[in-house]
């Protein structure tokens, strides 16, 4: 009897449900897609309108259409370059095979392709550089922040230094870092390019601070009761940090790391321009020096790419936080 009633209700329910579902889908789409799309559309129109009215010595300021064309051009360039590289290696292999067929003892070697770096190669270099710099910064900043949060005395003595160096521009650090790297990194067989190290260290110096500060705040705001539990149990310091401090501070540590990564990505472009690290910064600088009629469009492609990658990096950190954090219910944004 009750089963029948349930089925009956269900059948009617399905019809009603699907209509309400449709409307709710429509509403969700409206909220999550339509508004952002409308915003982007309006922005593109404004951009095009403004761009048409700006004339520079390198031609008209690029609008969305030109930028789209340029991005296709850059991609095509990349594919051409890859084909050339593949052909180059193929030729070498063919030649070596022939030589080995004639004389099995012949010495053969493969020379690496030395074509110019494409836009995509430069994006990858930039990502690699920023990751390295960010990694250095995190390895220093998280432990430092934890110590500052645990000890009022350490905090009091370190805080003035943090506050002084925090607002320093990457451009101010760069000459110093360059000279220090040149002076100290002297090997016959360098594992890293000097320009790479200079850029990465500059990134690290500038993106240390948000992580240090937020970790400190996170550690100082641990629930007093939990600290007391640890004191009653007489947990050794390392266990205290591992079992109580780090899990409590994880959300703030991640907030700091996200701010740091965003700062680092911003700083990187400036650092690469001056250090000539073959990444996005150098790409922009080279295009600017190049001064062809395509240059502004290509720079604009880089600008949009930088923005999108920054956004993606932040999402990536958020995903990582979701994986690591114990609090799966927490709403992260």
């Amino acid at each position: 009897m009750t089963d029948l009633a349930a089925i009956f209700r269900n059948e009617q329910g399905i019809a009603r449900f699907s209509i309400s579902q449709l409307s709710s889908i429509a509403r969700t789409v409206g909220k999550t897609l339509a508004l952002p799309l409308a915003g982007i559309l309006i922005f593109l129109m404004l951009w095009q309108g403004v761009a048409n009215n700006i004339n520079t010595s390198l031609g008209q300021f690029p609008g969305p259409v030109q930028v789209w064309e340029q991005s296709k051009g850059l991609l095509a360039e990349h594919q051409r370059e890859r084909k050339k590289a593949a052909a180059f290696y193929q030729r070498q292999e063919d030649r070596n095979a022939k030589r080995l067929a004639k004389n099995p003892d012949a010495e053969v070697k493969i020379r690496s392709y030395t074509g110019k770096a494409t836009f995509l190669d430069q994006v990858i270099t930039s990502l690699y550089t920023v990751s390295f710099g960010f990694l250095i910064a995190t390895v220093i900043a998280v432990p430092l922040g934890i110590v500052c949060g645990l000890s009022e005395k350490v905090y009091q003595s370190v805080n003035p230094i943090i506050q002084t160096f925090k607002p320093v521009s990457p451009l101010a650090w760069l000459p110093l870092v360059t000279m220090v790297v040149s002076a100290l990194y002297v090997t016959d067989d360098p594992m890293f390019e000097k320009a790479f190290l200079t850029s990465a260290f500059t990134v690290a110096l500038c993106c240390l601070w948000p992580t240090v500060i937020n970790t400190t705040v996170g550690v100082t705001s641990i629930d007093r009761d939990l600290v007391n539990v640890s004191r009653v149990l007489q947990l050794p310091s390392l266990v205290h940090v591992r079992k109580i401090v780090i899990p409590s501070a994880i959300p703030m540590i991640f907030t700091g790391m996200r701010l740091s990564l965003a700062t680092g990505w911003m700083v990187l472009i400036a650092a690469e321009m001056l250090a000539q690290n073959p990444g996005l910064g150098k790409f922009i600088w080279d295009e600017f020096q190049n001064g062809s009629s395509d240059s502004l469009g290509r720079i604009m492609v880089a600008v949009v790419t930088i923005g999108l990658i920054g956004f993606l990096l932040d999402r990536l950190m958020l995903l990582l936080q979701k994986r690591i954090s114990w609090d799966k219910q927490a709403i992260l944004r």
């Binding site: 009022e152 629930d223 007093r224 009761d225 939990l226 600290v227 007391n228 539990v229 004191r231 009653v232 149990l233 007489q234 947990l235 079992k243 109580i244 899990p247 114990w326 609090d327 219910q329």
Partner: protein, 306 residues
């Protein structure tokens, strides 16, 4: 004369404020025998928690001291386990892991892995929580969390079990269940317990002695009531028991006649209220200034003194 098991000897404590130091406790003197269940009762802000925190070693008394089995208490330790009002479970560890953290710490030299495992499960089953071993604290109710908090403390096999309003945040039914569980456990294990409470019925039902505190500032022990009700006690039978009602009456008289709630009696002046707030929430500055009161403090005593 035989030395008492736990001796709280003429303790007093002063907290520093912006102005004059605030004297929270004055000359609190109490001896407790092994296996006794003692309740501290008094109006809010009278320094009950401060007494408990001093016994726990989380605060350092400005004068006087606490001696447990012939040794002076100078820092917190697992022999004086504390059940906190808000359970204080680590939210990122499961029920089992929360107890495990304590057990691993206390029995690292005396129990092997299997024994520890058994001991953790045994203590959780004492508080009837063996069905939720692998749940996170966020997934169980408030009463269950408090049960786990109690299990964690029992598992440390403390010399004294300190309970800071353990059931204060729970609803009446859950509280009754937990009180029954606690009585059962205390009867079978013979723990020495000091419990802070606001609840007169709870105090009479559970305690061997009820220590009634006067109102602060400079709070001290007003009266001590020995509760000679036979154990095991049954809350239903006791509800109409003449002795029970008599004990209850005596506590009520103390609280509502001799020591009227200062907040009802008259509105505290602004400065008095401020002092009280400061006393309940010692900030870091108070630790620094606690040095002025004659004894040095470790500088880490930033505990709630609510």
């Amino acid at each position: 004369m035989k030395n008492p098991y736990l001796e709280i000897s003429h303790i007093g404590i002063e907290f520093a404020t912006d102005g004059e130091p605030f004297r929270a406790l004055q000359d609190v003197d109490l001896s407790i025998d092994k296996g006794q269940f003692v309740s501290l009762i008094g109006h809010s802000g009278c320094g009950k928690s401060t007494v408990l925190n001093i016994i726990a070693g989380l605060y350092e008394a400005s004068e006087g001291g606490v001696i447990l089995e012939g040794r002076e208490v100078d820092k917190p330790g697992p022999d004086r386990a504390v059940v906190f009002q808000n359970h204080a479970l680590l939210p990122w560890l499961t029920v089992y892991q929360n107890v495990e953290l304590a057990v691993k710490r206390v029995f690292r030299k005396t129990k092997n892995k299997a024994e520890m495992h058994e001991w953790i499960e045994h203590n959780l089953s004492l508080v009837h929580m063996d069905h939720a071993l692998h749940k996170l604290p966020g997934e169980i109710s408030g009463g269950m969390k408090q049960r786990v908090g109690i299990a964690r403390c029992l598992a440390m096999q403390p010399k004294v079990l300190l309970m800071d309003e353990p059931f204060g945040a729970l609803d009446a039914l859950t509280r009754a269940h937990l009180q029954d569980s606690l009585m059962e456990i205390q009867t079978s294990l013979g723990n020495t317990v000091i419990m802070i409470t606001h609840d007169v019925d709870e105090a009479v039902l559970l305690s061997d002695r009820i220590v009634m505190m006067t109102n602060g500032p400079a709070a001290t022990i007003g009266e001590i009531l020995d509760v000679n009700l036979p154990r095991p006690r049954d809350r239903l039978a006791l509800a109409e028991d003449a002795d029970f009602i008599h004990y209850r009456q005596q506590v009520l008289e103390f609280l509502y006649d001799k020591q009227k709630n200062p907040q009802i009696e008259k509105k505290p002046t602004d400065s008095a209220r401020k002092l009280q707030e400061v006393a309940c929430k010692p900030a870091s500055s108070q630790d620094d200034a606690a040095v002025d009161t004659g004894k040095t403090t470790t500088g880490t005593d930033k505990t709630r003194a609510a």
